[in-house]
């Protein structure tokens, strides 16, 4: 099962209501994934700060604040429930090793535009907890999980981010993820869970070094074995891919202002002007992409 949702805005009209649009989509996909939920939201900020999305797990914010200030000089911290967005001018090559060695926390994503929040529990609770309604942005991707192959934890929740401003959500299951994980590890990729989707995200990050998102997903058709509908996001791009058997559902609605995708139409029944949108199912084995 699992539910996936995403919105890519083609105009600025709905930037302020992006969080509200996505939260309704996530809540209506609760029946497909009641175990955990998460979302990645992209904001085209013009500042040059890097944003690091961190889940504090059991750690208190005050303790984290005290300890991180000892390790990184200039940081700005924004607390949102049990997550923190750490903002810094320092490059990821300096910050990432510090965060990776920091015991007790989980780095869930980083980049100049992406912020990721994910947690176990019902999607309606997760949406409320992080107050998704207040977010604005240019594109967003969300997931509701019905766990099948790995534990119900924050690390097992989607979206997965394995590179700067990259993220992936997945409905389905991969059968060659163990082999692929071994190969990617040899090339230097790091993984935090036993989850199959994290391997697909790692695969995409690895491939994006030499290709764009569309070419990467096209190559993925021959390298990723299993059932999937993917939604992948980058700094300014958004793409959808279904495997060639196409057992996992997806429907796209496109208007002049936005592109929305979800596992079922009911997740987007509330979107503005959706009844006059161009509504279609992505064809099996075809990459659909918007932006770069």
């Amino acid at each position: 099962m699992c539910g996936i949702v995403g919105i890519y805005l083609k105009s600025k009209k709905f930037e302020k209501s992006l969080g509200g649009m996505l939260s309704k989509m996530l809540i209506s996909m609760e029946s497909r994934g009641p175990d955990s939920a998460g979302f990645a939201i992209y904001n085209r900020d013009k500042n040059k700060l890097f944003k690091y999305s961190i889940c504090l797990n059991e750690m208190s914010f005050d303790r984290f604040k005290k300890e991180i200030k000892e390790k990184i000089n200039f940081t700005k911290l924004e607390k949102n429930s049990d997550h923190v967005i750490l903002k810094s001018t320092l490059k990821p090559s300096k910050i990432l090793p510090i965060l990776e060695d920091f015991k007790g926390i989980s780095l869930v994503g980083y980049g100049k535009s992406i912020e990721i929040f994910k947690q176990v529990g019902k999607p309606s609770n997760v949406v409320k907890k992080f107050d998704l309604n207040k977010f604005s942005g240019s594109h967003a991707i969300g997931h509701t999980r019905m766990a099948t192959e790995s534990a119900i934890t924050t690390d097992g929740s989607h979206p997965y981010s394995t590179g700067e401003d990259e993220c992936l959500v997945h409905n389905g299951s991969l059968s060659n993820h163990n082999n692929l994980r071994r190969k990617l590890k040899k090339n230097g990729s790091k993984f935090n869970s036993d989850n199959d989707t994290e391997v697909a995200a790692g695969y995409i990050s690895d491939s994006l070094k030499d290709r764009n998102l569309k070419q990467t997903l096209k190559k993925g058709l021959s390298d990723l074995d299993g059932f999937y509908t993917f939604i992948a996001g980058t700094h300014s791009g958004f793409a959808v891919l279904r495997d060639e058997i196409a057992c996992k559902p997806a429907v796209i609605a496109e208007t002049k202002d936005y592109v929305a995708i979800s596992s079922e139409f009911q997740a987007m029944a509330h979107l503005p002007n959706v009844n006059s949108a161009k509504i279609f199912e992505p064809e099996p084995g075809v990459v659909y992409s918007w932006g770069k």
Partner: protein
Amino acid sequence: MLLDLKKLKLRSVNEKLQNIDRKKNKRDFVISNPEGNHAVCAGLTDNIDVTIKGHVGYYCAGMNQNANITVEGNVGTGVAENMMSGKVHVKGNASQSAGATAHGGTLIIDGDTSSRCGISMKGIDIIVKGSVGHMSAFMAQSGNLVVFGDAGEALGDSLYETNIYVKGKVKSLGADCEEKKMNKQHKIKLKELLKKAGSNIKPEQFKRYGSARKLYNFNIDNVSNY
């Protein structure tokens, strides 16, 4: 009678349609604001007319008997699955497994359907005015599948005795499916089906596909493969 799914619960709407008031004998219903709900109009048994104004989710009009259901929008997976009789008309597109396992009745789709249209169909007539996706009429046993547009990969794979008529291109035929001669009785039947769908296209414009019947019995020459 107007049934607004924004105000009424889906279950109460379906219950109302499944148990119509015979004293009042009202047989015309309109459902508004379906908003992608699943199982709208599932399990109807009476000779009633229902119009659904908008897009619906999975298994719309499933198990239908006698009712005449029109959807003014798109439908999700498994529209009219296991239908026994009656008529379902979709004015938009349908997702996968349209008319799956259905024993009878007529399913008309004005747009396209995605994969596995008519999978394991057992007597229904399906008329698709657009194109159908891959693996359509997979293991189809009887009835007719008429496609005005094109058919995707592996059409009629492991087919039994369903007749498939396609006007456009067929990407590929599945195992044991082959092009067949269009005889007089097929033309008469196809003309009747096209009339049902309100079309005056000539039956001669279609090609007929059916089972080569080679998978019906085990071929002893293949024993070493198992």
